[in-house]
């Protein structure tokens, strides 16, 4: 099975699961509960690390905070990299489906061509935005990143929709970043804005799962063209921006298969 298809199946499962979980709660089945901010499966706590870290900052104490719940996401990142973003995040699914709309196609291709491949600048902007978010949390003295993390907003709205049959104004944020991503700047949210993605990528190491480039190839550039993060898989496969979607491996036409999955740098 192609990685893209497996990825799409997992993404859609997660997306539907977002609505199934509150539905189960309505039927008073509490085995699995919560949103992508923080979730319980059985007695196993799983939380978005950036949400827990901001609560530590605003509360200035670890008292009562379920620090254990960040262990599973961080282990996932340590072993497999930022796979949440490419394999599960509901916003990535929505964005990828929207990018397929025929009337947007031309605009997106030109945006992608225009987007800077200078990843030093992207990285700088990304960390500046991330630190900016935490300064904002510090000034407000209140955790506010639930308003700026796309998976958090989408899953909260799914909960609201199922539980109260209503949506709230925060959904506008998703509309705004969709317009930015589709109209103005290619994948701005995933590359720069998203605090969840930035936080996860900080825990990636050089030993994590990544795309490895072995030896020679025809340098056709198909992988560079395919990369949704505007990276060059031949040189920057271990970059923190890479979210392990595997599209470069699939795009590669070379018979010797120079790109493949592997742990650590080759």
């Amino acid at each position: 099975m192609k990685a893209t298809r497996a990825r799409r199946i997992i993404q859609i499962t997660v997306f539907i699961g977002m609505f199934i979980i509150p539905l189960l709660n309505l039927l008073e089945i509490y085995f699995i509960k919560g949103t992508f901010i923080s979730m319980d499966i059985g007695s196993l706590g799983i939380a978005d690390p950036v949400m827990i870290f901001q609560a530590l900052l605003s509360g200035m104490s670890a008292a009562g905070v379920l620090l254990v719940s960040v262990v599973i996401p961080l282990l996932l990142v340590l072993f497999f990299g930022r796979v949440w973003c490419s394999w599960a995040c509901p916003y990535t699914l929505i964005l990828q489906l929207a990018e397929r709309l025929p009337f947007l196609r031309k605009r997106i291709l030109s945006n992608k061509a225009k987007a800077t491949a200078n990843n030093f600048r992207v990285r700088l902007l990304r960390y500046a935005v991330f630190i900016g978010f935490f300064v904002l949390v510090g000034i407000a003295g209140v955790p506010i990143l639930h308003l700026f993390s796309p998976p958090a907003v989408i899953s909260t709205q799914a909960l609201l929709l199922v539980k109260t049959a209503a949506l709230s104004v925060e959904l506008l944020f998703i509309v705004v970043i969709l317009v930015i991503d589709l109209r103005f700047s290619y994948r701005f949210t995933c590359r720069v804005l998203c605090p969840t993605g930035t936080c996860l990528s900080l825990f990636k190491t050089s030993k994590s799962l990544q795309v490895q480039y072995a030896g020679e190839c025809s340098n056709c550039g198909a992988c560079v063209k395919a990369c949704p993060m505007k990276l060059d898989p031949k040189q920057e496969s271990g970059d923190r921006l890479c979210y392990n979607c595997g599209e470069c491996i699939e795009a590669c036409q070379d018979a010797s298969k120079p790109l493949k999955w592997g742990f650590g740098e080759k």
Partner: protein
């Protein structure tokens, strides 16, 4: 530390409204605002759908859980305290008597039982008096959180959890009982609410709430064993009815 104090005194962090409560077991409002990551787990597990999510019109409170006592009051099932991931709702709160979400305050001018008591004292009625007792009947901590003084006047004690069921069920219009959320009367913690209502009097330190010894005195009067009532019947009760025994 000074910078932190300055940042922490953000008045928008604490805003209060009557009948708008935090879920049971919530820590003090400013601590709650710092700790709550707005994950919505308490909203997800609430089987009575009484916990609602604050929306953007609530300002900095957006995303936090609220219980609107006049819409759907808390039923004290205590499921939400067990699911909070950051301790904004204290997990040691497992019994329905434990939480102090607020304090019920009964309006003596409109409460039907108070009117009844006043009318009885002065000897005539203008027709609005009614032996209502709804708040006493629906209270989950009947005879400890609300007691009936002289079997007529409902009095709130300091055992009131502030669940708001009495508010939800109060039959008068406007409601004669409202919940003052915990921390609303505390000038140091009431932030925005305090700035808006600097001149308003402190509701929570009201004398209407019974504490300590006065509470015990009033509760001891509730037992019907000591007083013997002499009912004078206007018919003869001595005669034995044939066929009985």
């Amino acid at each position: 530390m000074n910078l932190r104090n300055l940042l922490n005194n953000n008045p928008f962090k604490a805003d209060f409204k009557k009948n708008r409560l935090r879920p049971p077991g919530a820590v003090a409002e400013d601590k709650f605002m710092e700790r709550c990551i707005r994950c919505g787990r308490c909203i997800a597990v609430c089987p009575y759908r009484c916990i609602e999510r604050a929306d953007a019109s609530d300002g900095l409170q957006v995303g936090t859980p609220y219980i609107y006592a006049d819409k759907k009051a808390c039923q004290l099932c205590m499921l939400c305290t067990q699911v909070c991931p950051t301790g904004a709702l204290d997990p040691s709160f497992t019994q329905p008597e434990q939480p102090r979400m607020g304090l019920a305050k009964i309006d003596e001018n409109t409460c039907l039982n108070y009117i009844y008591a006043r009318d009885e004292a002065r000897g005539y009625t203008d027709g609005t008096a009614l032996y209502c007792n709804t708040c006493h009947n629906v209270c989950p901590l009947q005879d400890s959180a609300i007691i009936l003084q002289d079997f007529i006047v409902p009095i709130v004690t300091d055992l009131c959890t502030g669940c708001g069921i009495c508010v939800e069920r109060c039959p008068t219009e406007p409601r004669s009982v409202e919940i003052i959320p915990a921390g609303m009367g505390d000038a140091d913690r009431a932030g925005l609410y305090h700035l808006r209502n600097r001149l308003q009097k402190d509701y929570t330190s009201s004398d209407e709430v019974l504490h300590g010894d006065t509470l015990l005195d009033e509760k001891s009067k509730l037992s019907s064993g000591e007083d013997e009532f002499n009912f004078e019947a206007n018919f003869n009760t001595d005669t034995k009815i044939e066929g009985w025994e």
